[in-house]
Amino acid sequence: MLLRLLGAIPTLLLVIVLAFLMVHAAPGGPFDDERVLPTDVAANIQAAYHLDEPLPQQFTRYMAGLLRGDLGPSYRYRDYTVSELIGSGFPISLQLGALAMALALLVGISSGTVAALKQGSMLDRVVMSFAMTGISIPVFVVAPVLVLLLAVKLQWLPAGWSGESGFAKFVLPVITLALPQIAYIARLTRASMIDVLGCDFIRTARSQGLGSKAIIRVHALKPAMLPVLSYMGPAIAAILTGTVVVEEVFGIPGLGQFFVRGALNRDYTLVLGIVIFYAALIISLNLVVDILYGFIDPRVRQR
């Protein structure tokens, strides 16, 4: 385990170097604007943010800051540091992602299981065609339609984020974010459940007179969940990238929105900070999933 942890360090370093080079390679700079600055004013601002230094020197400066845990000031949100912005944006993205994931697992697994049990029935077909639709319609189409219907026409839910609406403001973004994942998980669960239900050990359990509820709960669900669990990694990644779009569409002040704006504004430090933060997060999540896998399937642990 320690070995894997150490192995993550070069990966992270590579990500930092690549990201640094890429943001600086993009044409334009953080202070370019249609309202062009007088030459000496522009030069003074470049100097104030050390952007006049050669790239290697800027990189050394950045790495030195990073080792002290300092991600630097944001160029676009000049009254905030990058750490402050990540600190304010991440909890929101996390809540959004976690709620969407929870909803996706809850609805996905149960509807998938039901579909598997009633294989070939009307219900099965309804669930599966819903799943197909959920996979194929992109977020930026779903979101405005939901807003128009539920917020503008019916006025049940808020259309934007920044009003004082407590939990209600989470509903539309979470549904939008969860929809494609519900669909994937339902399909995965159904397929794997059908597989497991056809296995010998299930037949044995049934022959011993166990009811179908008990069979599902005690014997079938656990092995049927393995493909879903493997899908958790990609699902988390999909939700992470999904939050970028959803936050932009709903105006949610999460990390995703900062990331997009940061890239468009050439806010070098903000983009780098978020890339490093996400890279570290994904590397650790992969570790966690590996460990979880071990708990569920003893064979993995022995290897």
Partner: protein, 519 residues
């Protein structure tokens, strides 16, 4: 299995716990919800740059001079002023009752302190050269401020309404350093004080109880909601979450006019939409005929009517109409019909050495945006119909386009715009001076520079105006740019909001607004 269940439970719980209620005890406050289409990059008036930052800063602070809701100059923190006969010395008398949000008196010294910080290189202010014509600023006593100028600057009063010239509280800066522009730290002298700021989401401002005109400030709380997407902002307006929008979506404009026509405010705006030529390279270097031909072949009336369609006016001048003390010069060909213009354009195109057999090859660059694309496509077809050449349209990300324009290597024709910083023709004419950094086409005319210099030396407003109008005539005849149309300001304002005024600067101070009682 148990671990998954536990994980799920934790996830749901963490979500619910973190988004628990808020709405307590705020019912009695009157609240105005405004849309703001970009996040202010800073609320430190010296580090701010965007129009949106200035919008919020005008709620928080106050300069010596201010504007009424309809855009007339009026007293701000100064209650009166005198101007010397040579127009070189201004003496301002501050209101003795002017106070900061912590109760301290606003003194002349605070204005001096602010301007010193503005021009200090370490501040790295974008508007560091905003007061370039000011030679000296001094506090004669606590409530008297004198400003000395290099040359007559008739727009000085207009400059002094800009947030970059607002006073600063030295105590707040000493205590918090450059991080003072945050809720709880910022001390401001305007009608409102910053109470909350969620980056990327909303800025909340509350009444400044110490503001000298607090008695006439109607609304207790202002929330500026960041709404960068026009359609999303419109949805929020329709859902009743916003009282005022920062814009109106192009795509839904007909629907807006139909459904919310009474709430729609369209007004002339000091903002020009233009195409620049790269004058440092062929085909436009040394080819005024070609530049004029392309400009004349554009049917601007058709464009503003059918393509942009939100009330924009066709541009035949560089300075927009409605600017104080100025009558924009228009192109000599402006009185002709489009057919007559097209014929001249064809002749000029031929004179420049192009024909059907040997057509012009051209690239037109614009930043990725629906309206810009529609305009470019329309102009592409006008040039094809009138002059018979095919222009390649290239859309680029904004920062890429800006870098290309600056480098002057690959650009030929490019889209740009300019918003006036103050109500004077100078804010438009000055950017085409040969030494001005914002002169993106690279226009250089000794005659034009000389005329503007002469204008700047005039103490007589009428003579100054004549020199500037002549300068504009000289420049228009050289065709360094293609003025296309003048923008309009576009807002939706709920009927419950009173006190809204349309003006060419598109400034809308929250302190001028009030809310009608619910019907």
């Amino acid at each position: 299995m148990r671990s998954i269940r536990r994980l799920l439970f934790f996830l749901v719980l963490s979500g619910v716990a973190a988004c628990g209620g808020s709405d307590d005890g705020r019912e009695s406050l009157s609240v105005l919800n405004r849309g703001l289409n970009t996040e202010p990059e800073s609320l430190d008036a010296h580090k701010a740059r965007s129009l949106q930052a200035a919008d919020v800063l005008r709620d928080l602070g106050e300069g010596l001079v201010s504007f009424t809701s309809t855009g007339e100059l009026t007293e701000g923190t100064a209650e009166s002023w005198e101007v010397s006969d040579d127009l070189l010395t201004y003496t301002f008398h501050l209101r003795p009752e002017a106070k900061w949000s912590n109760g301290d008196a606003v003194t002349a010294e605070h204005f001096v302190f602010s301007v010193k910080r503005l021009i200090e290189p370490a501040t790295a202010a974008f508007y560091a050269q905003f007061l370039v014509d000011v030679t000296e600023l001094r506090a004669i006593d606590e409530h008297t401020l004198q400003i000395m100028l290099k040359r007559p600057t008739p727009y000085l009063l207009s400059l002094l309404t800009h947030p970059a010239t607002f006073p600063m509280h030295p105590g707040a800066l000493a205590e918090h350093g450059d991080g003072f522009a945050r809720p709880g730290k910022m001390i401001s002298n305007g009608a409102y004080v910053l109470t909350d700021w969620v980056p990327g989401s909303v800025l909340t401002l509350n009444r400044n109880e110490y503001y000298w005109n607090n008695a006439n400030t109607a609304i207790d709380e202002i929330r500026h909601h960041i709404s960068s997407q026009e359609t999303a902002e419109y949805a929020r307006y329709r859902a009743g979450e916003l009282d005022i929008t920062s814009s109106v979506p192009t795509d839904n404009f007909e629907q807006v006019r139909r459904d919310n026509g009474d709430e729609l405010h369209i007004a002339p705006y000091q903002n020009i939409y233009y195409y620049g030529y790269n004058l440092s390279k062929p085909p436009f270097k040394n080819s005024p005929e070609l530049r004029q031909a392309l400009s004349m072949a554009i049917d601007r009336e058709l464009l503003v009517e059918k393509v942009t369609g939100r009330g924009e006016t066709p541009a035949y001048s560089w300075v927009p109409p409605g600017v104080d003390n100025y009558e924009p010069t228009v192109f000599a060909y402006a009185p002709l019909t489009q057919d007559e213009r097209n014929q001249i354009a064809q002749t000029l195109y031929a004179e420049a050495g192009y024909s059907k057999q040997k057509p012009l090859r051209l690239e037109l660059r614009y930043n990725t945006n629906d309206t810009h694309k529609k305009v470019a496509v329309a102009i592409q077809s006008m040039w094809r119909d009138v002059l018979g050449f095919e222009v390649d349209l290239i859309n680029e990300e904004f920062q890429v386009l800006l870098a290309n324009i600056r480098d002057k290597e690959v650009t030929q024709v490019f889209r740009s715009s300019w918003v006036g910083d103050y109500n004077d023709a100078h804010t438009f004419l000055s950017i085409l001076q040969s030494q001005n950094a914002a002169n993106v086409p690279g226009y250089a005319s000794e005659e034009y520079d000389a005329l503007l210099l002469r204008a700047a030396e005039q103490a007589d407003l009428d003579r100054r105006r004549l020199y500037m109008e002549e300068a504009e005539r000289v420049m228009l005849a050289d065709h360094p740019t293609i003025p296309i149309y003048f923008y309009v300001s576009k807002h939706l304002v709920k009927p419950r909001v009173a006190g809204w005024g349309d003006n060419v600067l598109d400034y809308h101070y929250s302190q001028h607004l009030s809310l009608k009682a619910a019907e």
